[in-house]
Amino acid sequence: MKKMITMMIVGVLAISMLAGCGKEKGSVTTDGSTSMEKVIGALGEAFQNDTGISFTYNPTGSGSGIKAVQEGRCDIGLSSRDLKAEEKEAGLSGTVLAYDGIAIIINPENPVSDLSLETIAKIYTGEITNWSEVGGNDAEIVLIGREAGSGTRDGFESITDTEDACKYRQELTSTGDVITTVSQNPGAIGYASVASVKDSVKAVTVDGVAATEENIKNGSYVVQRPFVLVTKTDTPLSDAALKFFTYITSADANEIISAAGVVPAN
């Protein structure tokens, strides 16, 4: 008896998890970059609310997303890097949705104001460990980063080509924590998406270029990567998918894109 009741409770709870499934009015499936989770999730939610068309996103990574479009397993692929030439030749085309600009931030007390991309990579891989080596005070460099799996970390490491090689002193779980920690420690260096940088920290110029929205858009600020929507060149999108594509590339979606911390491209 007691066992049965317990089983029933478990059953009811399990069934209630299934509630909310079901499709109507067609659907859009997207697949790809985990870094785009925040922006595509926000856009998908708004789209679903406005049109009633259901939206799904499968966070698998840029490579698998591109492959999924190619094999017709999803409507739109999501890639956080530009398409390679051979991918374009294979019948895919990319549309840039937004640019993910990453600011390199240091403590305002730190006299350093410019670093080259190469220097940043050397700092993060532990080749340069003292600020005096890059024209600052004699103080050990404290590397602040994000947790494994974070889109910002993934972006930073892929741009600076330091994947799995960064010698972090702290791995924090939010942009806010990174900014607070850097603002507390004169020897710290960190990275955060450009949109969320505050006055309590100093964003350095990279190769002499400041991390502004304009510089990110025209490509002169190098610590950035595009968020690309990948579609097949010769196969037209389904009605629902086309609606979604137009929705998120229209100027109306820019507010949502900016709110997700990236720079809208359109």
Binding site: T6, L13, G149, D154, D164, R169, N185, G187
Partner: protein, 325 residues
């Protein structure tokens, strides 16, 4: 049919009989009513019993659900990685090209961190409790006890925030290290967080020591301090041990505050001033963006943590039972 004439005597008897019948019926009705009322009461009793049982079962159900869920989602990753590689692997790189899932650094960090918190927190908490229970005046006792209760009510994120903004920069300056976020910072924060549970439980245990014990000791010529430490404390030792175990439980399960001060890099805890990751923070810091085997491995870590907590609970029950006896 012709109506039969009744004699007056008969008439009387009939009336009497009718009356008797009526009262009998009434009595039967009343009895029936009473019986139905009793029946009703029985039913309500039963219904209430069932409601209470159901409410109780919800709690049991939650525990069962969590346990079953943890075991089901925690086992596959352990099976894929291998129990030995998982528990004793020294490297954790869950998103690397060749991922490594060794949680020994987390286990050791959790053990060291908790042990450190106990080493600092228990003497402070224990002596505070002795003072409050035996030596302090009523006024001091009430003020300090409400302060302790307040300490227990502060949310862990606040401990974390204060630790991050005051303690971490403080450690950096005092010990002249490049960064203060470290095992040491986590130990300090945990030690403060476990104080309330240790103090409260120890006070309860000390207050429960019969007054006669102390009177006897004092009458034999022992000083008050001798009495408290040689009579009261030994008499309350199971309760005090339980308070320590409770502190251990609180320290090992804490995530938020620790995440904000420990630095969260999966290093082996070789030095006090190293950035480390605890079992709890290993789960919470990577859960948000995890997928695939990484996510399953996080569940496995949660399972390991769960087993630790079960062990601690069992120890606590052991001490509490002994105290009762």
């Amino acid at each position: 049919m012709k109506k039969r004439e009744y004699s007056p005597y008969e008439e009387n008897a009939k009336a009497f009989h009718d009356e008797l019948l009526e009262s009998e019926i009434e009595a039967v009705n009343l009895a029936r009513k009473k019986a139905s009322k009793r029946e009703w009461a029985k039913y309500t009793e039963k219904i209430i019993h069932i409601i209470f049982l159901l409410l109780g079962l919800i709690t049991v159900g939650c525990v069962l659900l969590i346990t079953v869920y943890l075991v089901i989602s925690g086992i596959p990753a352990i099976r894929e990685i291998g129990l030995v590689d998982f528990l004793f692997g020294k490297e954790w790189a869950s998103t690397a090209f060749e991922p490594k899932y060794g949680i020994l650094p987390f286990i050791l960090t959790s053990i060291y961190g908790t042990a450190g918190a106990i080493v600092i927190g228990v003497p402070v908490g224990f002596l505070t409790a002795v003072y409050l229970s035996k030596l302090a005046s009523k006024k001091v006792k009430s003020v300090m006890q409400s302060a302790v209760s307040l300490l227990a009510g502060i949310p862990s994120v606040v401990y974390g925030l204060v630790g991050m903004l005051v303690l971490v920069p403080g450690i950096r300056k005092i010990f002249d290290v490049p960064d203060g976020a470290s095992l040491f910072a986590a130990i300090i924060v945990l030690a403060i967080m476990i104080l309330p549970s240790i103090i409260k439980m120890t006070i309860t245990a000390l207050d429960a020591v019969p007054r006669e014990y102390e009177d006897a000791s004092l009458a034999l010529g022992a000083t008050p301090i001798e009495t408290y430490f040689k009579v009261s404390v030994p008499a309350a030792k199971s309760g005090i041990a339980a308070s320590v175990v409770l502190g251990v439980g609180r320290a090992i399960g804490e995530a938020m505050a620790v995440m904000m001060v420990a630095g969260n890099v999966p290093n082996m805890p070789d030095s006090l001033f190293q950035s480390v990751r605890f079992l709890t923070t290993a789960v919470s810091s990577e859960m948000a963006y995890s997928s695939g085997l990484q996510r399953q491995a996080l569940f496995s870590i949660a399972l390991v943590l769960f087993l630790f907590i079960m062990l601690i609970n069992a120890t606590l029950n052991f001490f509490l039972k002994r105290e009762k006896e």
